[in-house]
């Protein structure tokens, strides 16, 4: 770009494309990191950041496009080993230390060159020196087992391990949400170290949802959205607001102007006080959205709302809530069973006389919902796993909708569901809500959140904002989701 950059890029990705099944994670991305540069990478959940990082670190191969190291085309042979051999390190969001080993032993895993007699002493010296350098006064015993460390201490060990050098020089470090579990002063220490590392000629890619620290640390900011790079400018050209605007899409025109309902005097069907300032309430016939970044406490809240209604010991024939799982393998499917048995499990008490299931009625209920929600199968006796993911999800929808429960909790249930099915389900939700059913809907997709009557935005386990009616816009949700804490 600029004439003052005679050195080749440490790493560059040209026209990278990557699809997972029907989902297009990267749709032609150009990305590069120069020597002595810190690049901030931001974008909404599902924008493609993690996939891009995976391609950079060699964990995934692009379907199309090139990977260049120091200007050399390494696409054909690029993998985790090549990446490491070229001095590339990564600190992942999911901590990747072995909990049953000590700090020193974990450091040894990444440094294969430390071997033979006395490796423990050398590995210990290496990690301790780097911890002291990055986090002065850290107080971590390098002989302690990882499992005994706090989550912040683990993160510090992981970061120090990534920056430590034995046989090869570290040239590029990718930090994926490095400060998510560090407090403000530790985060400051890390970011100061990043600046120092960059000043000495190293390169860093930093991913963070805390936009303030991106702007203060990075030289250049790359914004991704829907698998593309939508902005790539010097950090000085951005403000927090302009960054948020760059991440969000154009605010869509709503189907119908949703007026904010007035629920004064109406009894809520569900209520829950939270530790934060804003309490959760849901009224009859309402579609309440739970928004915010993934994993900020929305699922926990839904599960605890569900469990709070009881039913551990005796089945609730007139249960108040039903649950639609999003992570269907963990929370939803019963893999040994047929579609029919999976579909009717929740409504089963209604089809039971004297403890015995009325199989004729059961088959009728299953057929009715198969037709209503269009589960694509000839035979409901086929195993649930014979269905595609989207159709399995429809079965889980039917499982909850077939009940008489006045409240349905939905845990981001549209993952892997194609657009046509989504439209069908939206229509069913609308018509059920019009009949007085309440839906509490956690979704990571803006389009879905914007379908809701009222939205609670989550951050770090608590509700930080409540948006209603015309205020339910992508921009408002985004700005509430991101903390603007200065680094």
């Amino acid at each position: 770009m600029e004439a003052t950059a005679p050195l080749a890029d440490v790493l560059a990705v040209n026209g990278a494309e990557k699809s997972f099944g029907a989902v297009r994670a990267l749709a032609g991305v150009d990305f590069f990191v120069r020597p002595g540069e810190c690049v901030g990478l931001v974008g909404h959940n599902g924008a493609g950041k993690s996939t891009l990082v995976n391609i950079i670190t060699g964990g995934a191969r692009p379907d199309a496009g090139k990977v260049l190291v120091d200007g050399r085309d390494e696409t054909a042979s690029y993998g985790i080993a090549t990446a490491r051999a070229n001095g590339l390190r990564c600190v992942f969001q999911e901590l990747s230390l072995c909990p049953n080993l000590t700090v020193t032993e974990n450091a040894r895993i990444t440094h294969r060159s430390i071997s033979g007699f006395g490796w423990r002493v050398r590995a210990e010296a290496l990690i301790r020196q780097k911890l002291d350098e990055v986090f002065p006064g850290h107080g971590i015993d390098s002989r302690a087992m990882i499992a005994t460390l706090s989550i912040a201490e683990r993160q510090m060990v992981e970061i120090a391990t990534a920056f430590s050098e034995s046989d090869r020089k570290v040239r590029l470090v990718v930090l994926d949400e490095p400060t998510s579990s560090l407090d403000a002063s530790l985060a400051r220490q890390l970011l100061a170290y990043v600046r120092k590392f960059v000043a000495s000629g190293g390169s860093v890619v930093i991913i963070s949802h805390i936009l303030g620290e991106i702007l203060s640390t990075a030289d250049r900011v790359v914004v991704m959205k829907d698998g593309r790079v939508v902005a790539d400018r010097s950090a000085a050209d951005f403000t927090v607001d302009s960054l948020v605007a760059a991440m969000g899409s154009v605010v869509r025109a709503r189907d119908a102007a949703l007026a904010a309902h007035d629920y004064t005097g109406v009894r809520p069907v569900l209520k829950r006080s939270s530790q934060g300032a804003i309490d959760f309430v849901a009224y009859p016939g309402e579609i309440v959205g739970l928004a915010g970044l993934g994993g900020h406490g929305q699922t926990d809240m839904l599960v605890s709302l569900y469990l709070a209604e009881g039913g551990d010991w005796i089945s609730r024939k007139d249960g108040k809530v039903a649950f639609v799982a999003g992570d269907r393998h963990v929370d939803g499917n019963l893999p040994l069973w047929s579609i029919l048995k999976n579909l009717t499990l929740t409504v089963l008490p209604d089809l039971t006389r004297m403890g015995l299931v009325h199989t004729g009625e059961e088959a009728n209920v299953a057929k009715k919902w198969r037709d209503r929600i269009e589960v694509r199968t000839q035979n409901l006796d086929n195993p649930i796993l014979s269905l595609s993911g989207g159709n399995q999800q429809k079965v889980l929808f039917a499982r909850a909708l077939a009940t008489r429960a006045p409240v349905v909790l939905m845990d981001d249930p549209m993952r892997g569901v194609d657009i046509g099915t989504k439209q069908e389900v939206y229509a069913i939700l609308r018509s059920e809500a019009a009949k007085g059913r309440t839906f509490v809907w956690y979704s990571t997709e803006m389009e879905e959140v914007c379908q809701c009557d009222r939205v609670y935005v989550f951050r770090e386990g608590t509700i930080v904002a409540e948006l209603r009616g015309a205020d339910t816009t992508e921009e408002n949700i985004l700005s509430a989701s991101f903390s603007e804490r200065a680094a």
């Binding site: 599960v303 569900y306 469990l307 039913g311 551990d312 010991w313 005796i314 089945s315 609730r316 249960g319 039903a322 649950f323 799982a325 963990v330 929370d331 939803g332 499917n333 019963l334 893999p335 040994l336 069973w337 048995k341 499990l345 929740t346 089963l348 008490p349 039971t352 403890g355 015995l356 299931v357 199989t359 499982r399 009940t403």
Partner: protein, 311 residues
């Protein structure tokens, strides 16, 4: 025919039938009736405890009841002592046996739930307590069962041993609640994915509790019948049923990992296990060889079953 062959339980019947034939051929057909009756009689006890264990194992990985032997002993001992050889006390004896079962089942689940002990440890430790209670209560005195009961337990109706008829009735009830009842669905759902079952409205605690109680009650009933059959309760009378109760579940085609159970397989497996032992006996094999074979067979079946796709 193919539909029948696809059932996971037919193989245990084939195996039992094969061993039966081999044994009959060895003895020249002389013992056909005697062997068949003995097989049905002794299999009946394995079937009754096996049914309880089957429901527990179906609850999923980690669920097993190791207190079955101790429960059998205590139930047999207590019932015989209460009845004190009097024919008039038969109903009271049955009530005592069932009460022992219910109490132990409640105690087991209380350990599992309240103290959060894994079932395998909870039931093992409760079995020590129960066994000690039996020793303390019995004090080594062997009391005979009332005549009417010992006659019932050793007699046959139309050539079929009475205990086998009792086992058949219990099996039929177990089949109905497993295949047709909502309880069977819940047990199977919990065994496949406990969290998913809970989020789908299955009363997980209630179902697991009922299952542990059911298992202990069936063990108590088996202990009661066995002590009447063998003319008195012995402190070690349940010992062999620890392994047997698990073996018949596994050989019978119930999924070891939980979520899928079947009742007919328990019959095939119980008959098979007894017939293997009597076959080895007729060949004059020593006790060590018999146990070795039993162990090898169980391992073989588990390996074979884990390669088949789940039904």
């Amino acid at each position: 025919m193919r539909a029948i062959l696809a059932k996971p339980w037919v193989w245990s019947f084939f195996a039992a039938g094969g061993v039966w034939l081999v044994t009959i051929m060895f003895t020249g057909g002389a013992s056909t009736l005697g062997l068949s009756q003995a097989a049905l009689t002794f299999a009946a006890f394995s079937i009754i405890v096996g049914l309880g264990q089957m429901f527990v194992i179906t609850l999923g990985p980690g669920n097993v009841d190791l207190s079955i032997p101790a429960t059998m002993t205590l139930a047999g001992t207590a019932a015989l002592k209460v009845m004190d050889t009097s024919d008039g006390m038969v109903l009271a004896g049955i009530a005592v046996a069932l009460a022992v079962g219910i109490t132990i089942g409640v105690f087991n689940y209380a350990l599992i739930k309240l103290l959060r002990i894994p079932p395998i440890i909870a039931t093992l430790s409760s079995s020590f307590i129960v066994q000690s209670a039996a020793i303390w209560y019995n004090r080594g005195i062997r009391i005979k069962p009332p005549d009417v009961l010992s006659q019932f337990a050793t007699a046959s109706t139309f050539g079929v041993p009475n205990v086998a008829i009792v086992a058949l009735v219990i099996s039929a009830l177990a089949w109905v609640i497993l295949e047709k009842g909502i309880y069977g669905r819940w047990v199977s759902a919990i065994g496949q994915n406990m969290r998913a079952a809970r989020l789908a409205g299955v009363p997980v605690d209630g179902t697991r509790f009922a299952t542990y109680v059911l298992c202990a009650v069936l063990a108590a009933l088996a202990g009661f019948l066995l002590s009447c059959f063998s003319g008195g309760a012995a402190l070690n009378m349940g010992a062999e049923y620890l392994l047997t109760s698990i073996a018949v579940v596994v050989i019978g085609g119930t999924a070891v990992a939980g979520g899928f159970a079947n009742v007919p397989g328990i019959w095939g497996a119980s008959l098979f296990l007894f017939l293997v032992v009597s076959m080895l006996n007729t060949y004059g094999a020593s006790a060590g060889v018999r146990m070795l074979f039993t162990g090898v067979i169980i391992i073989g079946v588990v390996v074979a079953a884990s390669r088949k796709p789940a039904a």
